[in-house]
């Protein structure tokens, strides 16, 4: 599979819920998530981000996050990893849904990114 999706949220429930939601529209896409701190409280965890990215089955990763510290942890991870991770500064739920829908029909990255541009808010 070309693209996998990784969801990062401060809330474990949001992260899991986004996976549930977008899986319906993209049943064949690998979707992994990192939600909350190591103790599953509101926050973010570099370790969870790492695990979510490593367990994802996509050749390249499309990553979506909610607030600033998820973004910073993601960028920190991107500096450390050899995986190809694309980070999008778009609305979390809506952006992940859009990307999943398009990845499901094997749309090229260019098309996915054109659609995501409309959701840029960060």
């Amino acid at each position: 599979m070309k693209y996998g999706i990784v969801i990062l949220s401060h809330s474990p429930k949001i992260a899991e819920g986004v996976k549930d939601l977008i899986s319906q529209a993209a049943p064949s896409i690998s979707i992994t998530y990192a939600g909350g701190t190591d103790e599953n409280e509101i926050g973010s965890s570099l370790e969870k981000i790492q695990t979510a990215c490593e367990q994802n089955k996509g050749e390249e990763i499309l990553a979506f996050y909610d607030l600033g510290s998820s973004k910073m942890n993601l960028e920190m991870y991107m500096e450390m990893t050899d995986l190809t991770v694309h980070k999008y500064d778009v609305a979390l739920v809506e952006g992940a849904y859009t990307a999943a829908t398009l990845a499901e029909i094997e749309a090229p990255l260019e098309n996915i990114e054109t659609s995501l541009k409309k959701l840029l808010i960060k």
Binding site: Q24, A25, P27, Y97, T98, T101, L102, I105, A107, N111, S115
Partner: protein
């Protein structure tokens, strides 16, 4: 052409049966360009309609449509819920005074457009409802025409609903909501025949 309670009841009964029979067809269509649940959603609505009608037989067409609307609104769970729900709710209100079938359908169509902020050519159920409503008004709606309206959605690019996320790639597939609407109008034609 006017519609009476007997005809309207038959219409809804036939529609409900078709929805239950074609649950997987509708799901498959929705899998291609949506989230794969349109059949499940409408089937849930169908069962709720049956149950509500079994509980209390409506006294007139307006009450029948209201029962249908509430069952759909409460049970469908997808976009088609508020859409079909608004159509039947608006038709129910209108049916208090109005008995002309074409007028009622046209009011239902306007309800869907209002609720969905949509119009023809967006690859939605409107693409069956609106031409069907027009054909009814000119007295020449047939099952063939309904199929034609449905098939026309195939080459459209969706600009509303989930399929719109696919943009150009939504081409080449029938719109699931147009398929369920085709069942609705086929049922209507059969009910009005006899």
């Amino acid at each position: 052409m006017t519609i009476n309670l007997e005809q309207a009841t038959k219409w809804i009964d036939l529609f409900v049966d078709k929805l239950e029979e074609n649950r997987s067809t509708l799901n498959e269509l929705d899998t291609a360009i949506g989230d794969g649940d349109h059949g499940t959603n409408m089937d849930r609505g169908a069962k709720a309609i049956k149950e509500a009608l079994a509980k209390k037989a409506p006294a007139d067409v307006s009450e029948l449509f209201k029962t249908v609307a509430f069952a759909i609104i409460q049970k469908v769970g997808g976009a088609s819920g508020p859409l079909y729900g608004t159509a039947f709710l608006d038709m129910s209100k209108a049916a208090k005074e109005e008995t002309d079938l074409a007028k009622l359908i046209s009011i239902g169509n306007d309800g869907i457009k209002r609720r969905g902020q949509s119009d023809v050519n967006m690859k939605t159920m409107i693409d069956v409802w609106q031409p069907a409503s027009e054909a009814l008004a000119s007295g020449d709606l047939t099952a063939e025409k309904v199929t034609e309206f449905l098939n026309n959605t195939k080459d459209m690019v969706a600009t509303k609903g989930r399929a719109s996320y696919l943009e150009e790639k939504s081409k080449g597939h029938l719109d699931p909501g147009s398929q369920s609407s085709a069942y609705l109008f086929e049922s209507l034609l059969t009910a009005m025949e006899g």
